[in-house]
């Protein structure tokens, strides 16, 4: 089994990881541009998180096995940021990078939102209809405990997604049942389709809410600073196994890395045109080679 073990990180590798993230941003932009559809904003905002998780934090196996025994698992609940997920999975060896060119096309394994249905390696549950991923992650975490598997379960959720009530059923369950092998990260970018979360449905103090439910909550102040994300996730790992599920509230900027896509919800679900793509790619020069 070709487990990618990420325990050998040296600080000198940070440039390599930054280069990886830059290439992922290019992949995101090129995927959504080609099919003129998809969600670049949230994908760009979570590029550092995915890079850190898959290249530095998780022990995972690109020779994909659905059961995922003896490896760490990741569940993407906010499935619309599939472009970043697909890019990182392919560049970690789950499937050929060239397949990114089929994103959202007919007969593709890279559906608009991630799914197991076409057998894409690396995806363990369909997501896209929001609010369901935390429950699935909890189930997988409980299976790990039954299997006496000490690996961890990670999940990512949009902040707007927390407006779905099922999350709060799951949040209550995880704390009440001491699901302490779970690290759920909230992409706290303050934006959703119709505008800022403040204008659409103010969610109040998320940290206080998770804490009130009994979670161990920490923050990553700049989720687009790769070093901070790595340090934050490492810190989160040390907090597992202590009787509480761990939540990271990770502040990100939607559209990060492309100046005209930042600080707005306009690029939540809109693809750049040819000219915009050229500008965006110029801000993210090729590092690992385009597909």
């Amino acid at each position: 089994m070709a487990i990618i073990s990420n325990n050998t990180f040296k600080m000198s590798d940070i440039q390599e990881l930054k280069d990886f993230a830059t290439q992922v941003r290019r992949d995101i932009l090129r995927q959504v541009h080609k099919v003129n559809s998809g969600h670049p904003g949230g994908s760009l905002g979570c590029t550092e998180f995915f890079t850190a998780l898959y290249k530095e934090i998780m022990e995972h196996n690109p020779d994909f096995d659905m059961d995922g025994k003896n490896e760490d698992l990741f569940f993407l609940s906010n499935g619309h940021i599939s472009p970043v997920f697909y890019s990182v999975l392919s560049r970690c060896g789950y499937f050929p990078v060239e397949e990114l060119a089929t994103f959202r096309h007919i007969d593709s394994r890279l559906q608009g939102h991630p799914t197991t249905h076409e057998g894409l390696p690396g995806v363990r549950v369909a997501s896209g209809s929001l609010g369901q991923g935390m429950s699935v992650a909890i189930g997988a975490a409980q299976a790990k405990k039954l299997n006496k598997d000490n690996h961890l379960v990670y999940s990512l959720h949009g902040d707007g997604e927390l407006q779905e009530g099922q999350n709060w059923e799951a949040i209550m369950y995880a704390a009440g049942n001491k699901v302490d092998n779970l690290i759920a990260t909230i992409d706290y970018n303050g934006q959703q389709i119709d505008g800022s979360t403040e204008t659409v449905l103010p969610m109040g103090n998320l940290k206080a809410k998770f804490e009130a439910f009994g979670w161990d909550v920490m923050e990553i102040k700049d989720g687009n600073d790769l070093g901070q994300v790595i340090d934050g996730l490492k810190e989160a790992k040390t907090r597992t196994g202590k009787g509480k599920p761990v939540c990271i509230i990770m502040t990100t900027v939607m559209g990060n890395g492309v100046d005209f896509m930042m600080h707005t919800h306009a690029w939540h679900g809109k693809a750049p045109n040819d000219e915009q793509l050229e500008t965006a790619l110029a801000q993210n020069p090729e590092t690992l080679g385009d597909y």
């Binding site: 059961d67 698992l73 549950v125 429950s135 909890i138 009530g165 209550m172």
Partner: protein, 317 residues
């Protein structure tokens, strides 16, 4: 004419509980979840024997379905139990995305289906669940008729890789299928051979169909009775072959005639061997409070109604 004897009235949900207990003893991968209805689902024995393999989720069915999907990742076979209403309509999208579309090996175990949970009324009854579940690609839909069959089905679905909707109920009903009868998913059980009419029944209506066939026999009408415990995949061959012989059909189910067994049978026959059909089912209505017997009478779901429908369909041949 063969006589079916009731070995003693007992609820189908107890058959589920007994099957789950047996699974707990024989299959270490079987886990169970419940949303605050352990007593109603008869799960206590499984829980007592396997506390570490039971997940009480509280009154939170959406989370239960998602957790069940997650538990399959790691090789568990989750049996998620609650009332049929809360196991389907309430959580349709969770089942659709996290279980059916994701191809997860989850067994959705639904008690208190139909109208026969009785006095609680329409908020807790459901007559649309077969339709909801059979429309999901890849979902197997099973509606068992008595204790023995429910126990056998519970054990059988653990061996089937894929999502299953297992529907059973609350009232104490006749227990007449053989205790040792193997449950084969998708395979109809022929209860009576007959020449004049085919009666295809599922769930609690199977016993009513047997009663009807016995009464019809006394009137000189020879009814073939088929116990369709699996509504999807439907045993089309058994249906077509029988109707080729009899030339007409009565379907009987504790469900809305929109979306139920009857429509599946009608589609099968329309495509293969068109024949007159009468539907014993509720007619696009909600249920209400009452005893199971009163409700069966009022909504035309008993042997008397099947006899009437048979006489009507015979005239249409």
């Amino acid at each position: 004419m063969k006589k079916y004897t009731d070995s003693g009235k007992v609820d189908t949900r107890s058959g589920f509980g007994a099957g789950l207990t047996e699974l707990g003893r024989n299959n270490p991968n079987v886990v169970a979840l419940c949303a605050d209805l352990v007593g109603s689902l008869k799960m206590q024995e499984f829980i007592d024997e396997n506390p570490e393999r039971f997940f009480q989720v509280g009154i939170a069915e959406a989370n239960m379905m998602g957790m069940a999907a997650g538990l399959t990742i790691g090789g568990k076979i989750p049996f998620a139990g609650t009332f049929a209403n809360f196991a389907t309509g309430r959580v349709y999208d969770q089942i659709r995305q996290s279980i059916a579309y994701s191809g997860k090996n989850v067994k959705i175990c639904a008690s208190h289906s139909g109208v026969t949970l009785g006095e609680d009324g329409a908020t807790h009854q459901i007559l649309e669940d077969i339709g909801l579940m059979k429309m999901l690609p890849g979902m197997t839909v099973i509606n068992t008729c008595d204790f023995n069959q429910t126990k056998a089905a519970t054990i059988a679905v653990a061996e089937h890789d894929g999502p299953v909707y297992l529907r059973f109920g609350r009232p104490k009903v006749a227990n007449f299928t053989p205790e040792d009868q193997k449950f084969e998913i998708g395979k109809a059980v022929n209860l009576y051979e007959g020449e004049d009419v085919t009666i295809i029944a599922t769930g609690h209506l199977v016993w009513e169909a047997i009663q009807a066939a016995e009464a019809l026999s006394e009137k000189g009408i020879s009814a073939e009775v088929i116990n369709i415990h699996t509504i999807k995949p439907l045993d089309q061959e058994a249906i077509i072959n029988s109707v080729k012989k009899t030339g007409c059909v009565v379907t009987a189910e504790e469900h809305n005639f929109l979306g139920g067994l009857g429509e599946s049978v009608a589609r099968t026959l329309t495509e293969n061997h068109p024949a007159p059909q009468e539907f014993i089912a509720t007619k696009d209505t909600f249920g209400e409070s009452g005893t199971p017997g009163q409700l069966f009478e009022k909504y035309g779901l008993n042997a008397a109604a099947i006899i009437k429908a048979t006489e009507k369909v015979l005239k249409r041949k």
